[in-house]
């Protein structure tokens, strides 16, 4: 279920603005990889180019090559929707569909894929909600609006919605930045469980979080505002946080920069 992702010389633009330049990075299956770095360093941009969400913005484009198990994501014959089904994404703010119930949110992806049979949907909904550690909290009110849950529950609902379609990679764009500490903890626990099945890449501003949840950490940085973001260092999380090779990484991690 989990796949390897390889980026080579990935450069991404917003119109005329170059947001990231020449990113080379390999993400191993069934690991959690954290992308850290100061604001504006392009880590979210890189994350969004992995499932081709970057190009949704007007004028945005990506150069270089990104492969998932040796298939080029940006190949001309590739179906964008297939990429996004294979590589799911959880966003910074919880964004359940406001007009749908909890149940409908959980199975939204399956319904899109043409699954109509109620028994399959029911089973998938329970499975996804259980996997997102949300089942016990919502099982009695599946018909209530998804937007009526608390922020942390909403975010877990979004995770359930993402994993219900059984993707192979899950991207998380600062999934806890809008949440309180307890909800954050719940989501971090969840990540530990999910990495048995999925390759997870997470963007975070919280270095403790990166240290807690990830196996590998990539540090991104920029020279100055307006410059493209670059990958400074990429290594095992322990190594990055205890003994980084780059001065910049050390400065950032010890709080002397950013």
């Amino acid at each position: 279920m989990a796949k390897r992702i390889e980026a080579s010389n990935v450069t991404a633009y917003y119109g005329g603005f170059k947001a990231i330049e020449n990113i080379n990075l390999t993400v191993e299956p069934k690991t959690v990889t954290a992308l850290i770095g100061p604001s504006g360093c392009g880590k979210s941009t890189f994350l969004r180019s992995i499932n081709r969400m970057h190009e949704v913005l007007p004028g945005a484009r990506v150069e270089g090559s990104l492969t998932i198990d040796d298939q080029d994501i940006y190949d001309r014959d590739v179906d964008v929707t297939a990429v996004r089904r294979m590589i799911g994404m959880v966003f910074q703010r919880p964004n359940p569909f406001p007009t749908m119930s909890i149940y409908e949110n959980a199975v939204a992806g399956l319904r899109l894929n043409g699954v109509r049979k109620k028994s399959i949907l029911d089973e998938a909904a329970e499975k996804a909600l259980r996997a997102a550690n949300l089942w016990d909290e919502v099982k009695d009110r599946l018909g209530k609006p998804g937007a009526g849950l608390s922020g942390g529950q909403q975010q877990r609902l979004c995770i359930a919605r993402t994993i219900a379609v059984e993707p192979q990679v899950v991207l998380m764009d600062e999934p806890c930045s809008a949440l309180d500490p307890i909800s954050t903890l719940a989501i971090e626990d969840l990540m530990f469980q999910l990495k048995d099945k999925f390759t997870i890449i997470i963007v975070t501003h919280n270095m403790q979080q990166a240290a807690r949840v990830s196996d590998r950490t990539a540090f991104f940085s920029i020279e100055k505002t307006g410059d493209p973001g670059r990958l400074i260092e990429y290594d095992n999380t322990q190594k990055i946080f205890s003994n980084p090779t780059q001065k910049k990484t050390e400065d950032y991690i010890t709080g002397r920069f950013g």
Partner: protein
């Protein structure tokens, strides 16, 4: 991990193993379009059941069907639906552009015919069926006076009403007012005309006029006010709600009473938005024909006094000239329509630009 997660059972593959999909080649869509047009032309012209319009319509229909089938065969049902809807949405756009462009084009090309000084400086007084001249001076006067009076009535009333809804109104009564303002937006202009006819022209005006009902520009202004009021209230209400709470709280914290805060802080902040709403309401009122027809009576001569005797208006002038038997009247109607549209559009554009420059919200 919980045990249920690991249950495995064949089910519709939701995540594809391969990213590559068969896609229609780029030339497919134009090719299908061409084929559809050719087939349509062959059928229609061959059987002699219509002209090129039918060819295009039938061709478009065949194109949609052909595109759906081809995409479904090659790319699958989801992609086929996506492509067909996209084509439908694009064709909706093309379909609507044609008549709307025709309206604009006709308006311009026919409107310039009588766009001369005579048109703006003379009235229709003593203009017979065989006279080519004559103008809309009296109608322009009428429009300006009626809309001006209506604005004077509506703006204070509308703003105060919005202030009540946003700042003071509580509970069911305020809700009722809001609800009925919404409902009032939907009152047809002819009904407001009839209302003023029944109320002002037939019942009130005889008191001033020796017992005979009298049409007047003022009556038209009243009818237009009924139409403008909900627009003004709604836009003002929206703008007042956008005024940031800290601004109000800042003033309260300084000990400023509520009414002064509203007059000195809230309303000035919301002013650009309110002006925009008022201008849009004026633009709409200026184009109304029906109420003016019912209560101002129309007329061929210049009448500066809105409180006595018949008045015309630009829109009423268009309507009356369009129905006139003279062969010169259509040209007058088109030029008046062009003038009216120019007036309304200038107001609308100004209002939109103002709104864009002073966007409080986003």
């Amino acid at each position: 991990m919980t045990t249920t997660v690991t249950s495995h059972r064949p089910r519709p593959a939701t995540t594809p193993d391969t990213l590559r999909t068969k896609r229609l080649p780029r030339y497919a869509a134009p090719a299908i379009a061409l084929a559809a047009l050719l087939v349509a032309a062959a059928v229609v012209l061959g059987a002699g059941i219509g002209n090129w319009v039918l060819v295009v319509v039938l061709g478009a229909l065949l194109y949609l069907i052909g595109l759906y089938l081809a995409a479904k065969a090659v790319e699958g049902a989801r992609s086929a639906r996506n492509r067909t809807w996209s084509a439908l949405i694009h064709s909706a756009f093309v379909l609507a552009v044609l008549p709307l462009a025709s309206v604009v084009w006709t308006l311009l090309s026919k409107g310039v015919e009588r766009l001369d000084g005579d048109f703006f400086l003379t009235s229709m007084n003593n203009i017979g069926a065989r006279d080519a001249n004559g103008g809309a001076y009296h109608a322009i006067i009428g429009t300006l006076e009626q809309v001006g009076i209506a604005t004077l009535i509506t703006v204070p009333l509308g703003i105060l009403c919005a202030v009540y809804i946003v700042e003071y109104g509580r509970g069911k009564f305020a809700f009722a007012i809001r609800f009925f303002v919404d409902v009032m937006t939907g009152i047809p202009s002819i009904v407001s005309g009839l209302f003023v006819l029944a109320f002002w022209v037939l019942i009130v005006s005889p008191w001033f006029n020796d017992g005979r009902p009298s049409f007047s520009g003022f009556a038209a202004a009243l009818a237009l006010s009924v139409l403008m009021l909900p627009t003004v209230v709604r836009s003002t209400e929206e703008m007042l709600r956008l005024v940031p709470a800290p601004l109000r709280e800042g003033a309260y914290a300084l000990g400023v009473p509520k009414w002064k805060t509203i007059l000195r802080v809230v309303l000035p902040t919301a002013l650009p938005g309110i002006v925009t709403g008022v201008m849009l309401a004026i633009a709409r009122a200026a184009g109304e024909t029906a109420p003016v027809l019912l209560v101002a009576g129309g007329g061929a001569a210049i009448n500066f006094n809105p409180f006595e005797n018949n008045q015309s208006s630009l829109s009423l002038f268009v309507y009356q000239q369009a129905g006139d038997a003279s062969r010169f009247s259509p040209a007058r109607a088109w030029t008046a329509a062009l003038t009216l549209v120019a007036l309304v559009l200038i107001l609308t554009i100004a209002a939109k630009l103002l709104a864009r420059r002073n966007r409080l919200g986003r």
